[in-house]
Subunit: 549 residues, 2 copies
């Protein structure tokens, strides 16, 4: 009898800080449903994304590969056709990866044309959708100027009676002032208005409904599935419907993590970050105090919707055979370290919440536990592959299966987590006149030392044991301990950087085949028949010619 | 009027040491036709391949990319479908890359099947042939046990009356002893016999004929071409037809480059190399003294055939509009350093001859000159692209255009050459029990210091200024000069290793697009309309909605 595998519901929020959940310690923002998920599973305290920004973080998550391997280093940079994805591996095993929401995938149209792949064919759609079956594809930002972003959600809003040239913008992401004027939440001053749409028609509620619709339909489908439920919120525009819009206020805001000394940084790249517009913007207390309560409201709303979702799954008996994973693609500075948005490596930007609730009996022993293992987002792909019975692909997938952690066994180890960032597009690159090919940074973190290589500049170094708030940059310190730490981390970075990562055709069959060349009759170094026979155990004359095929 | 571009004849010998040509200093082996080519062009004294073994060296040559980028790290490892080649770039510009001979390409059958590419379609054939149009595809080794290696050359031999179950083996690569018995040149003792085929029907002559046939046909075809004439010789089996088989003898052999001290190496990987069968075999003076004259004969025969080829081209007026490049895919230890065959980084293995004769007037000023620039095999692809009018692809091609050197201008610079090697298949990996994913080495050379990173072991270091014969390994030296040199080279290696190389969709259009997101209406960090307008020059209300597409 074939082994029955669980399905996987892989939930991702966008731009959700790990410390904005009560199970991760927020004193005022209570997220009981996510907390309950943590009690059913394992909460990871040290989960890190492979780039602190949407696009490359997700491309890494969906391929199980580092950014330096898949090459989609920034938002909108196409993932090269030919990069294998989680969906591809699952499909080979008769399972599927299904999308409900955002991927931030940009199709490699040129690459597909070069290889003669019709974008409308099944293969072409799969390539264009990063290996997913797109049950619902919605990357969530519909600026007025981009016509092509009209989505099924806009159709839905129209059907509910919310008609405009941009329903997403005018209803879900605007609010009305006291005079009834519509104000866009692209502008931060409008963050505290109630979004111009009832909660049940907001993006978060809609995407939850869509996930339910998928799972309902999948009940009668035998194929194992990994459903990626990928919410756009709490990513900006920061606006949330009533009653969440005024559920929190300034009193509920945790003090910022920053020091005056940080503003005196001698590091040219950090100085350029601090001088960039979005960082200066969020350094203003009036901005963060205005926006954070809306951000909190969005998270509270998300938690309530997840409660609805989990209750529905329970009612349908799906909880017993569905692994539920919850995470985020990166964090949000919100003024900490005098910075805004994301794009660098302090904990609140590069660390993410990660909770995995595995219903199988093997996971009983770890329910409600906390893991301090260093894990990476790219570990999720091989974990889901293992769960759905898909054979491992160590020559392609760089992440490591987390199942041993979930099942309380030996077998998982990671000494370092890595994250990368390409800032060629930014003010910082322009200010410093860094050529686009050099505008990149790499973080390597061992749980204590966070080393950030900045091409063309000195490194940055934090000691999270003596300085857990990451306020003191030791990258230029002449203390021998710090010199030694930097040397050690550089050496580890070189080991990672020189590891095979493009050798994706090196299946075990290919590797084994290459060890056998002497037996195939391709010979070098043998003086005579006797030497050959002694070395190979085959008589030379027995290498018979086989003639014309 | 459209600019007329020259064609390119890219000649590659296999396993030809740079120092086995008279223009590179061999005292006894006179290669007047290759020497004459050098007088018509530029001879490069410091050209290095990106892996010291056939398959990966060639995959790098044909893509213009390092091994760590294309991932085909060993012979027989398929080049992943999706890796762009020289032929692909040329095709986009209406030019073509045509093959006459060996590429050592292994098609990515699984990858093609995954992307729905029919191997027999035009695209499929191109993918399978590494981007080349295969006028003649022949990888040159036809061991008895591999049926599928029957080639057009075997048909040719049969048509000339040389019939057997393996004409390549029995005629071109065997000799007859005094009793008339056929002896195979897979075994080194048979190297000095005359090959069992007249010179004009040998592989070298045949492939020369095929190149002539291609160029004859191309005279009436308007498309610019790069013809890759790729000989298998002087790669083993080491046997050559009369009169070359006894043209050289022991007197003509240059003394080996080796010292007794090398045999006492403390480096575990070097020890494992020295203990490997092929190295022990060629360490025997009786082996090298027996084989080298045959090796020399093969090179002499190659030079004579190139003389015939160049004379034919001259007679057809092709010399005036064809750039001729001559090189090798790697060298041959032949007992130097107590080693045999290739697979490591001493000069005689990793440095290759490179001569480029450019007939254009811009190259007049450098005719007959010698370049001491550090160049890599991967520089040939962008050089040929430039010559044939193909726009550069700096986001894909890692080599650098050599045209400035050929035309005596500023504009070329390289501080380091890099080469990589995957030894997972070897005795050394088995002896040392190195896991397959760790069995790799990387060389970085700045013209003086040759640093070899050996994963899991200490590095190896040679100082070619004080030790041009590379007899003294300074990799473990505690001399501060050597410590500093190793640190400097490691740092350079880290810079190279962290450089973008998978970001092949990063065209300049894509890069430019990503700088403009604020103008597309995707906004973060703006408090109000005034801030937005001040930063962007656009009035917020002018970001008009565009409605349903």
């Amino acid at each position: 009898m074939a082994e029955k595998h669980p399905n996987v519901l892989w939930i991702m929020a966008d731009q959700l800080r790990f410390d904005y959940l009560s199970c991760y310690g927020h004193p005022h923002l209570h997220t009981p449903h996510i907390d309950a998920l943590a009690k059913r599973g394992v909460k990871f305290n040290k989960a890190y994304v492979q780039s602190p920004v949407c696009g490359p973080s997700r491309m890494s998550a969906y391929t199980g590969r580092y950014v330096r391997s898949h090459g989609s280093t920034w938002n909108g940079m196409p993932l090269r056709v030919g990069e294998p994805t989680l969906g591809d591996h699952l499909r080979q095993s008769g399972a599927r990866a299904v999308l409900v929401g955002k991927t931030h995938m940009t199709a490699d149209a040129e690459g597909m044309a070069w290889l003669g792949i019709d974008p409308k064919s099944e293969i072409g759609v799969s390539r264009s959708q990063c290996g997913f079956d797109p049950f619902e594809r919605d990357d969530g930002l519909h600026p007025d100027s981009l016509r092509q972003n009209w989505s099924a959600y806009d159709d839905y809003l129209e059907a509910q009676g919310y008609k405009s040239d941009n329903p997403w913008g005018d209803f879900a992401n605007s609010g009305k002032d006291a005079d009834g004027d519509l104000l866009s939440a692209w502008l931060l001053k409008n963050s505290r208005l109630a979004a111009n749409v009832p909660e049940e028609h907001s993006e978060t509620a809609y995407m939850t409904d869509r996930a339910i619709a998928f799972m309902q339909g999948a009940i009668t489908d035998d194929r194992p599935w990994v459903c990626h439920l990928s919410y756009i919120k709490p990513h900006w525009p920061y606006i949330v419907p009533a009653p969440y819009h005024d559920m929190y206020c300034e009193r509920d805001i945790v003090d910022p993590v920053r020091s005056d000394a940080e503003r005196d940084t001698s590091h040219p790249l950090m100085r350029a970050y601090l001088d960039a517009r979005v960082c200066k913007s969020f350094s203003r207390d009036m901005v963060r105090e205005h926006v954070i309560p809306a951000y909190m409201g969005l998270i509270k709303q998300l938690d309530d919707n997840l409660g609805r979702l989990f209750a529905w799954m329970e009612s349908k008996g799906l909880s017993d055979n569905t692994i539920v994973a919850f995470t985020s693609d990166h964090g949000d500075y919100m003024g900490d370290h005098w910075m805004g948005d994301k794009d660098f490596y302090h904990e609140m930007a590069v660390k993410v919440p990660l909770i995995i609730a595995d219903p199988r009996p093997e996971a009983d022993r770890t329910r409600g536990s906390v893991s301090e293992d260093l894990v990476e987002m790219i570990d999720l792909a091989p974990t889901f592959m293992a769960a759905t019975g898909c054979p491992p692909k160590p020559h392609i997938v760089e992440g490591r299966d987390l199942t041993p952690i979930l099942h309380g066994k030996q077998g998982f180890s990671r000494r370092y987590v890595i994250s990368e960032h390409d800032y060629h597009w930014s003010e910082m690159a322009r200010t410093l006149e860094v050529p686009q090919e050099d505008a990149h940074t790499t973080m390597i973190f061992d749980g204590r030392w966070k080393y950030i290589r900045c091409e063309g500049f000195r490194p940055i170094l934090f000691d999270l044991v003596t300085d857990p708030s990451e306020l003191t940059d030791l990258g230029g310190s002449e203390d021998t301990t710090h010199i030694a730490a930097r040397a050690r981390m550089e050496s580890a970075l070189l080991t990672w950087a020189t590891r095979h990562h493009s050798r994706i055709t090196a299946t075990s069959e290919v590797l084994d085949r290459q060890k056998k060349s002497a037996q195939t009759g391709i010979l070098i170094g043998f003086w005579d028949e006797a030497e050959y026979e002694e070395a190979s155990g085959i008589a030379f004359r027995d290498l018979k010619p086989v003639g014309r095929p």
